[in-house]
């Protein structure tokens, strides 16, 4: 069956509005809850979609860092490593932490990618539950779930996550 689900194409660069929409929708839903109500299915879907886009933007940023970091020369990495060991220049603690982060970047990026994909899975699980709550025809529910799973598999392959 031909999929009619939208294709999730992450933007090339993270949006400058990154995370803002998610926070606004979270706040709206919290306000509804605080007033004794409950966000309806569409409002929850909207929030989930914003979360999914935020996670995909995060993955785009991680990929950008991964690619650029892989081009750093061994000589530069050695110099930074020596600098951290000797602490020979006056930097504040936050900047020393930045240098340390840079040296550990491949591991950090990989760990965050695993977290991103786990959150992506949680998001699509919940989208599936909302489809059931909305009482969509079972065939449509299955079609949507399959399209989401397929996209998740693509992300896992890209990041070498099992």
């Amino acid at each position: 069956m031909k999929s009619q689900m939208p294709v999730f194409v992450p933007s090339i660069e993270p949006s400058p509005e990154h995370g803002r929409q998610t926070r606004a929708l979270a706040e709206r839903n919290s306000t509804i809850k605080a007033e004794g109500g409950e966000p309806n299915i569409e409002q929850k879907r909207e929030h989930l979609e914003a979360l999914r886009n935020e996670v995909l933007d995060d993955l785009v940023e991680l990929e950008r860092i991964r690619k650029q970091r892989s081009q750093t020369s061994k000589e530069d990495l050695k110099a930074l490593d020596l600098m951290v060991q000797a602490k020979a220049i006056p930097l504040d603690d936050a900047h020393w932490h930045d240098v340390d982060l840079f040296l550990r970047m491949p591991t950090m990026v990989s760990d965050e990618a695993v977290t991103s994909i786990a959150l992506y899975e949680a998001i699509i699980d919940m989208e599936r539950e909302l489809d059931a709550d909305a009482k969509l025809p079972s065939e449509e529910q299955e079609r949507r779930a399959a399209a989401r799973k397929q996209h998740c598999r693509v992300l896992k392959d890209e990041w070498g996550v099992n």
Binding site: N29, L48, D58, E61, M83, I89, D98, L101
Partner: protein
């Protein structure tokens, strides 16, 4: 749908949102650190200086 289902979904949604927000903050921190160092690394070393000295100088100036 029983009301408890909806509340549970909303709680899960809020929890996912909290985790996504924390992760985004961590990634932005990584990105900022990466960009700061990268700006120092893209410059060529002037003659007479070691690469280490040059990178150290660049980082301590920014």
């Amino acid at each position: 749908m029983p009301p408890s289902n909806g509340r549970a979904r909303q709680d899960t949604l809020s929890a996912i949102g909290t985790h996504v927000s924390a992760m985004t903050s961590r990634i932005q921190r990584l990105s900022a650190a990466h960009q700061w160092i990268q700006r120092a690394l893209v410059t060529a070393t002037p003659q007479g200086l070691s690469r280490l000295d040059w990178i150290a100088r660049r980082l301590s100036q920014t």
